[in-house]
C-alpha cells in the first residue's frame, strides 16, 4: 500500500528526515517510536502533505501513485488520514458542518453519492459510539474548549467517519490519562481491518499494550535504525532511548 524510499525532508534549513525506508501493506499496524526530535512527527506531516517541509530526496508510492505529487486534500480523499498530535481549535466552524463537508468531499472523490443531513446524522451517531463521544460536542466549534482527551477522541471519531485506507496516528496517546487512553485505543482497535493500514507514532511503549503492532520501528536522527516486532518496543522501554543514541553515535550497528 505504502512504500517510502530513501525519504529526505527538511524544514527551513534543517534536515530532519535523512533517508527513511519503510514498506507497509494493507491490514498491517506499524509502530514508529523514537525520542524527541527524531523526526516522528515530521514523517507524519510529510506523508499528509504539510507544506512547511521540503522533500529533498526519495519517493513515496501510495497505492501505485506518487504521493508526493498530491495536494493535502487529494491525499485525504485518496484515503490518508492524520490524527493530529495537537488537534487545531477552529472557532466559528461547527463540527458537524465541517465533518459533513469533509466526508462528502471524500465520497465525491471516490464516486459515491454525497450524504444528506439525515443519512449523515445516522452515520455519525453510530461512529460516535466507537469512542464514547458526547453528541453535544458535534454542535460546538471544532475542538474549541475540548479537553485533551476529547480532542484525541474527536480525531479517532473523524477517522471512523472518513474511513481511510491508511491512518497515521501522531502521538495519539500523549497527555492522556489511562481511561482516555483505553477509550482511544479501543476505538483504534475497532477500526482495525484487513483493508486498512495504520502507522502508530508514539514516544511511549504504553500505547502498544493496547494497540498491538505487527512491526515496530525505531526512528533516530531522521533514520529508521532498527525494526522488529512487538518485543522491540518492550526492550526499548527497558533500556531507554539513550542507549540507542550511544550506539548510533559510536557508529555501531544497533543490536538489542
Amino acid at each position: 500500500m505504502l512504500e517510502i524510499k530513501n525519504l529526505h525532508a527538511k524544514a527551513a534549513d534543517n534536515e530532519i528526515l535523512r533517508g527513511i525506508n519503510l514498506t507497509i501493506n494493507a491490514g498491517e499496524v506499524h509502530a514508529v517510536m523514537g525520542p524527541n526530535g527524531s523526526g516522528k512527527s515530521t514523517l507524519a506531516h510529510v506523508l499528509s502533505g504539510r507544506e512547511n517541509y521540503e522533500v529533498t530526496a526519495g519517493e513515496v508510492i501510495y497505492e501505485g501513485k506518487n504521493l508526493l505529487a498530491m495536494t493535502v486534500e487529494e491525499r485525504a480523499r485518496e484515503g490518508i488520514f492524520l490524527a493530529f498530535q495537537y488537534p487545531v481549535e477552529i472557532p466559528g466552524v461547527n463540527t458537524t458542518y465541517f465533518l459533513k463537508a469533509a466526508l462528502n468531499a471524500v465520497r465525491k472523490h471516490r464516486g459515491l453519492k454525497e450524504l444528506d443531513a439525515m443519512d449523515f446524522l445516522a452515520l455519525v451517531k453510530e461512529k460516535m459510539k466507537i469512542v464514547e463521544m458526547d453528541q453535544g460536542l458535534l454542535n460546538r466549534p471544532i475542538n474549541e474548549g475540548f479537553s485533551g482527551g476529547e480532542k484525541k477522541r474527536n480525531e479517532i471519531f473523524q477517522m471512523a467517519v472518513l474511513d481511510p485506507k491508511l491512518a497515521i496516528l501522531d502521538e495519539t496517546d500523549s497527555g492522556l490519562d489511562i481511561d482516555a487512553l483505553r477509550i482511544v485505543a479501543n476505538g483504534v482497535n475497532a477500526l482495525h481491518s484487513k483493508e486498512r493500514a495504520m502507522i502508530v507514532i508514539t514516544h511511549y511503549q504504553r500505547l502498544l499494550n493496547y494497540i498491538v503492532p505487527d512491526y515496530v520501528h525505531v526512528l533516530f536522527d531522521g533514520r529508521i535504525v532498527k525494526s522488529g516486532d512487538r518485543q522491540l518496543a518492550l526492550k526499548l522501554e527497558e533500556k531507554g532511548y539513550s542507549w540507542i543514541e550511544e550506539q548510533v553515535q559510536k557508529n555501531q550497528p544497533v543490536n538489542l
Partner: protein, 445 residues
C-alpha cells in the same frame, strides 16, 4: 465613462451654483426654517470644502476622486432600472412593507406599504416636507451636524428626498420596514443626496432595513444621511446593507439620538463600492440608554472602506457594545476609527469596543484606531483591535480531512465573520448575506 476632471475649488463652486439655481425648487422651499438651515449648510460647505488628508478624521481616506468629478444631479430615472432590480435586491423581506427609492427619490409606483399600519407613516421625505408635517420641522437636520462634516453640509443644503418614517408612541411594528435605495448609474456620473428621517415614539418597537444597491458597474455618488430619533423606552433594530456598484462612491452618516432607557442595535454591512465612508454617530442622550453597534465590511480589488463611529455617553448608566469586523482581500484598504466619548455627567457608563480584521492578501491594508475620551471617573470602558491572517494550521487541518484549499479558506473566513453575522436577527437577511458573501468569494478567487 470617467467624466472630466476638475480641481476641488471648481467642484465646490459647482455645488454652490447648483444650490443657487435649485434653491427655489428644493423640497420645502416655501418654509423659512428649512431655507435657513440650507443656507447655513451651503455656507458651511463653502468654508469647509472637501476634506483633505490633514483633516484628522480623513487622514486615511482620500476623497479627491469625489471632489474632482463633476457629478450631475441624479434624476428619478425609472426607465434606467434593469428588469427585476427590486426583486433581486429584496433580501427576502416582505414586499408589503417596502419603500423604494430610485436615485434617492421616493417611488410610489415601486413601493408597497400595505403591510404597514395606517398610523405608522412611511414614505418620501419630500412629500412630508412639502406637507409641512410638524414632526419633520422639529427634527429634520437637528441631529447630524453640518458644522464639521462637509458631506453632511452638502447633503443638508441639496437634499431633495429620501425616507421619512414616523412611528407613534406605543406601537410594536412586527414586520421590518424595508427602505430600498437603488441607483441606476446612468451614462453620466451622477450624485444623489438621500436624506432619511426616522422618528420612533416612546415605548415603540421597530426594525428598519436600509438597503443600498446599484448595478454592477456605474460611476455614481451616493451621499446619504439618516437621522434616527429614539423615544423613551423605545427599541430599534437598524440594518444598513451597502452594496453599491464596483465603481461607485458612497458616503453616509447615520446619526442616532437615544432617549431615556431606549435600546438601539445598529448593524452596518458594507460590501460594495469603490470608495466608501460610513459615519455612525450615536448619542446616548437619556439615562440608561443602551446601544449595540455591529459592523461587517468585506472588500477586495482596489476597494476602500472607511468606518468611523462615535458614541457619546452623555447621561448616566449608559451601555454601549461595539463589534466591527472586516475582511480585506486584494489591494483593498480599510479604515476603522471608533471613538467613545464619555461626558462629565455620564456616571456608570459601561462601554466596550472591539475591532477585528482579517487580511486575506499581502497587499491589503487596514488602519484601525480605537479611541477613548473619558471625562468621568466612575465608568467601565474597554477597547481593542486586532489584525490577523488566516490560521495556516487551521487550513492544513481542514485540508487534511479532504476539504479543498479554497473551501477551507472560505470556511475560515465565514468563521471569522460568523459572530457578527450571527447577530443579525432577521433570518432572511442573514441567509441572503450568506449568499452574497459566497458570491463575493467566488468572484474574488
Amino acid at each position: 465613462m470617467l467624466a472630466a476632471i476638475m480641481n476641488s475649488t471648481e467642484a465646490k463652486n459647482l455645488y454652490r451654483t447648483d444650490y443657487s439655481r435649485l434653491k427655489g425648487e428644493l423640497a420645502g422651499h416655501g418654509e423659512a426654517w428649512i431655507h435657513e438651515i440650507r443656507e447655513a449648510a451651503i455656507a458651511r460647505f463653502a468654508e469647509l470644502g472637501f476634506p483633505v488628508k490633514r483633516d484628522e478624521e480623513w487622514r486615511y481616506t482620500n476623497v479627491n476622486a469625489i471632489a474632482t468629478i463633476p457629478f450631475e444631479r441624479a434624476r428619478y430615472d425609472i426607465e434606467g432600472l434593469a428588469p427585476d432590480t427590486v426583486g433581486r435586491a429584496s433580501l427576502g423581506l416582505l414586499e408589503t412593507s417596502q419603500a423604494v427609492f430610485v436615485n434617492g427619490y421616493y417611488s410610489a409606483e415601486l413601493s408597497s406599504l400595505r403591510g404597514v399600519s395606517q398610523d405608522v407613516k412611511v414614505g418620501g421625505l419630500a412629500a412630508a416636507l412639502n406637507e409641512g408635517a410638524e414632526w419633520i420641522e422639529s427634527h429634520l437636520a437637528r441631529y447630524a451636524s453640518y458644522r464639521d462634516h462637509a458631506f453632511v453640509a452638502l447633503n443638508t443644503a441639496l437634499m431633495q428626498d429620501g425616507a421619512s418614517v414616523y412611528v407613534p408612541p406605543g406601537r410594536i411594528v412586527q414586520e421590518p420596514i424595508h427602505l430600498l435605495f437603488i441607483s441606476t448609474g446612468g451614462k453620466k456620473a451622477s450624485v444623489s443626496h438621500p436624506r432619511n428621517l426616522i422618528i420612533i415614539g416612546k415605548g415603540s418597537q421597530v426594525t428598519i432595513v436600509e438597503n443600498y444597491a446599484g448595478p454592477e458597474k456605474g460611476n455614481y455618488f451616493t451621499n446619504a444621511i439618516t437621522e434616527i430619533v429614539v423615544g423613551e423606552n423605545a427599541v430599534v433594530d437598524h440594518y444598513k446593507l451597502q452594496r453599491e456598484s464596483d465603481e461607485a462612491f458612497h458616503v453616509a452618516t447615520l446619526q442616532v439620538c437615544l432617549g431615556r432607557s431606549s435600546n438601539v442595535s445598529s448593524h452596518s454591512i458594507s460590501l460594495g463600492g469603490a470608495l466608501v465612508r460610513n459615519d455612525v454617530n450615536v448619542v446616548l442622550d437619556g439615562e440608561g440608554g443602551e446601544c449595540t453597534l455591529n459592523g461587517f465590511y468585506m472588500v477586495s480589488g482596489e476597494q476602500h472602506v472607511d468606518n468611523h463611529t462615535r458614541i457619546d455617553h452623555v447621561k448616566p448608566h449608559g451601555t454601549s457594545r461595539q463589534l466591527y469586523k472586516g475582511v480585506l482581500d486584494g489591494k483593498s484598504r480599510g479604515v476603522f476609527n471608533g471613538k467613545i466619548y464619555v461626558h462629565k455627567g455620564a456616571e456608570k457608563t459601561d462601554a466596550r469596543q472591539t475591532n477585528n480584521n482579517l487580511l486575506l492578501s499581502l497587499d491589503a491594508v487596514i488602519d484601525t484606531k480605537p479611541q477613548l475620551e473619558i471625562y468621568n471617573n466612575d465608568v467601565k470602558c474597554t477597547h481593542g483591535s486586532t489584525i490577523g491572517q488566516l490560521d495556516q494550521d487551521a487550513i492544513f487541518y481542514l485540508r487534511s480531512r479532504g476539504i479543498g484549499v479554497e473551501s477551507a479558506r472560505r470556511l475560515l473566513t465565514y468563521a471569522f465573520a460568523s459572530d457578527v453575522i450571527g447577530r443579525i436577527r432577521i433570518d432572511s437577511v442573514r441567509a441572503q448575506l450568506d449568499k452574497l458573501l459566497a458570491a463575493k468569494f467566488q468572484k474574488d478567487s
